[in-house]
Amino acid sequence: MARPDTKLRFDTGWQYAPAPESTDHARIDPQYGLFINGEFVAARRRQHFTTINPATAKPLAKVAQADAGDVDRAVAAARRAWQRSWSKLKPAERGKYLYRIARALQERAREFAVIETLDGGKPIRESRDVDVPLAAAHFFYYAGWADKLDYAFPGRRARSLGVAGQIIPWNFPLLMAAWKIAPALACGNTVVLKPAETTPLTALKLAELIRDVGLPPGVVNIVTGAGETGAALVDHADVDKIAFTGSTEVGRLIQRRLAGTAKRYTLELGGKAANVIFADAALDQAVEGIVDGIFFNQGHVCCAGSRLLVQESVADEVITKLKDRMETLIVGDPIDKNTDIGAINSAAQLAKIEDYLEVGQAEGGEMYQSGSRLPEAGYWCRPTLFTGVSQSSRVVQEEIFGPVLAIQTFRTFQEALDKANNTPYGLSGGIWTDKGAKIFRMTRAIRAGVVWANTFNKFDPTAPFGGYKESGIGREGGLHGLDAYVELV
């Protein structure tokens, strides 16, 4: 569709000067303990690990390594708090604590955004405009449910479960902490939460905030560590419910370990969502939707639109527009306000992505990357497309968790639907068309927990989120998100 002698030039002439967000007001301590029973305490075995800034590979802080004994302490604190204070409080008063947390998060928003960016590698624009506001909004939303549970479950009364063990990933550290803690507390439970080992800082800052607003000790406990810490939490006999967000592989392990126990659990796992563009779509906005779907947050998104299914008659046009758009994506220092695509979260994750780039090419796919200049130090991946791939390609089937898009064409509605559903995953999907009837036909037939029509990667505390099939069990957000944290009698 595009003439070969036409080219849009984005790499010459007027470029943007560096515009770093100031970081000197954000306080990161050299070392953090575990947050148990309302205070920071040393881990029993005094072991630490280091968290780094993936944009520079430089260390940020030392963080305590919790072992099974530390986890036991935390669970005991949560149990005592549940029995003696939290479940005894009037529900409206519980809600007020959550409102306080929400407000304090709004007050400290910029500091949290800066630390989220430094610790995890996501652009400051995203932390500032998306992650932190959504986290505060989540606390606000669930604060309101605390004294209204009688209206949430027709014909049933809701009772809290007790102690919730929660394990969260590194792609939206603060937001995932909010998604877990807010509904759990609103429903009268207490919490032991383990943040991901590469992104512990905002959870620890949240612990400080929680202490500052006066939440009764033991209601929220934060234990930092890696797989061993998580396993100790999953296995702990006095935890009533486990909530996990992470890979399907680990989710499977957890589900097995919980077999035979009475523990309730919810799992929010991986995905390989299809983003379907019909010929009658608003094409320029659809292209933006592709970008939002797979390049936003460096593709570290479980519900990323990592498979593009584009109707053949507009495929060339869409891919041309997409490539033009990719040239304007700025890959760079996450703390720069103009950065669109930040650092890959860790060396390990970058290695996994690069492995898939080789696999994709070995499978016969044609790889295209934008011309973005990359910084020297740190972990980076350019926005990448694969064409010439099919349903049987590994890059089409497997979750890469990076800014890598696999593109296929389709001819009919049924074919698009079949391809979209032909996966063990079922977290999300996107459909782009100007025709309403087609939207509803797709939303009815696609087997995914979240469907975005003419938009993508939109989140709201009132809207339930979660997957079908191997993308998980249970929903977070909205009225439906209360289910996971109550017993109905």
């Binding site: 036409t6 984005f10 007027w14 515009a19 608003a282 320029d284 933006e288």
Partner: protein
Amino acid sequence: MSTVIERVAPRLPALDRVTRVDQIGVEERVARFCTRSIKKDSKVHALRLALSMIDLTTLEGQDTPGKVTQLCCKAGHLHAAQPDLPHVAAVCVYPTMVGVARRALAGHDIKVASVATAFPSGMAPLAIKLEETRIAVEEGADEIDMVIARGAFLQGEYQRVFDEIVAIKEACGTAHLKVILETGELGTLDRVRRASVLAIHAGADFIKTSTGKIQPAATMPVTLVMLQAIRDHYRATGRMVGMKPAGGIAKAKQAIQYLVMLRETLGEAWLTPVWFRFGASSLANDLLMQLEKQRTGVYQSADYFSRD
């Protein structure tokens, strides 16, 4: 400079095959442009560039030779305290003032643009609109800003709207033609896209958002849609078309946001007064104030900048 331009007889394209436009998606993309942080030397570059792209405008019923001469004086002498400023691109006036502007701008490399075609409403017989255009060109206008027949467009009489533009383009001779869509009257972004495609195919050298005489005038969403139409046309044919948002852009900050949007949609080639203009009057002083602030580090007062 554009690549090979194919001069074929203008033909109305199939407008029902023009892509749909989603308003919310457009607004979200615009919001992203507005988060760009333009600082230091890149900010100075943008401020100077914006200044060079201004069509300094006076289109009042009460315009007189004195008023127009005064405006041209400002155009030629933006701010004595800052030498080395770029000059504005053009002065934009009614046809009866073109001669005055020409004389007042003698010796300056500033174009004279004239509105025509019964601006702003366009509600006159075609013969009158053509004659007005010819007169403006004879008086010395380098550029003609015409208005499309919105009523006809909204009725779906696309061929008639198209043919008018073709005729006006011919009456322009060597003068450049800017086609004003009056987006505030078109109602939806779908129509803005279709009108853009129509005007481009009819031979417009520039497409322009508004007359500035009604609200809303230029907005970033309509401008984005029009830039995308220009981009698609360039990619398909190799022909470049210019863009002019007009009305409602009074602050330097807004102008910079438009330039960000321009740069990230069309790229470097359009970042010049040859292919992009701001239809504005008070914008110039705000750009000057911001340039002075960048130079001195101190916030400025309007008292120090001439208002002509």
